[in-house]
Subunit: 209 residues, 2 copies
């Protein structure tokens, strides 16, 4: 990843930083309310540069989300799967989720996807697809983990694997929404813990507490 010497005028911005700044802007304002001028200010790139580098508004958003997902979601996936004990894996996963849904300054901003494009998803098919894909990925993740847990005998035989996965996804959706509504971080953590505990009890799991 060393910088190539390039040929023409060197670019005055770092694409990764720019996309991170753009995502932050989207996260604060919502998709539609974020204008290219806002993005231009946040990234310190002139509008035509933005356009040349990333494309139109939707493409900027998509690229910003992809960068975020590759960095953040991967860490969450590991938290969920590299811990063999289901209870602890879920604890770690939702710890990462809560951390991701709160800004560095502590503001509960919610999810860069769920909390940001929900409003536009019904009217714009492309954005609808984006939201649907995000939901689907989370579902698949939990379904896989619950299947693993069932095979490992961590949850009662005959338990409703799909239902349990959906129940955990619901927690994630709820955390995104609550964060967006301003619920502070400690409360989000408490909600996550209680929900996981109850879900495991419903699963007939080996009692953690």
């Amino acid at each position: 990843m060393t910088a190539k010497p390039a040929r023409g005028r060197p670019r005055a911005y770092d694409p990764e930083e720019a996309l991170a700044a753009a995502l932050d802007e989207f996260r604060r304002r919502g998709y539609t309310a974020t204008s290219l001028d806002h993005l231009s200010d946040a990234t310190k790139m002139a509008r035509p540069s933005l356009y040349a580098a990333f494309g139109n508004k939707l493409e900027i958003y998509r690229k910003a989300v992809r960068q975020y997902a590759e960095e953040s979601a991967e860490r969450r996936r590991r938290a969920l799967f590299e811990e063999p004990v289901l209870d602890k894996g879920l604890e770690a996963y939702f710890g990462e989720i809560v951390a991701a849904y709160v800004s560095k300054e502590g503001e509960p901003l919610g999810c860069p996807v769920l909390s940001v494009i929900s409003g536009e998803a019904a009217a714009d098919p492309e954005i609808g697809a984006e939201l649907s894909a995000a939901v689907g990925k989370t579902d698949a993740l939990f379904l896989k983990r619950m299947t693993m847990a069932a095979e490992a005998g961590e949850i009662a035989p005959g338990a409703d694997i799909r239902g349990l996965a959906a129940m955990l996804a619901a927690l994630q959706h709820s955390l995104a929404l609550r964060a967006r509504a301003g619920t502070p971080r400690p409360e989000l953590q408490a909600i996550a813990r209680a929900h996981v505990t109850l879900a495991l009890r419903a699963a007939g799991a080996a009692r953690p507490n």
Copy 2:
């Protein structure tokens, strides 16, 4: 509620119909993406009439939501409380929720509040308050119902009342989001049923099935 003879030129619109049409527009497009022109078209009211009748955009939205809430949320509240058996009450409640989150034509549009203003809630304090209030009302509703159930001995003594209430609220949040992402009605129903069943099991409730 009979129409008063009034004095000046009679209004050419029905306020209730206009607010319903406005809410539908908000629901389809999201808050920011819905312009006064869109509302003007949908309600067949000229923009100045809209303004004179309901106020600015945010007030139009608020009044449209209030009308929806008074009509729809009241029915849900009754479904939840007038059925003494917890299981059946929850079934009825979420049946109403799913119905409300799908349009008459069958399009899964989500919640007129949760799915519509989530994007704007972080940037605009007034909208943030609106979202927060909506979340809080649902929480209070479930908390009250679970407290009743505990007193009636429908759930295990010492059960986590707050946690269970939050878990049911999470289902509602998840249904709003999934509907917004295009999940068809039968699937929403199935998700709701499974979630309620699992939540009741976690509560140590009298087994329904």
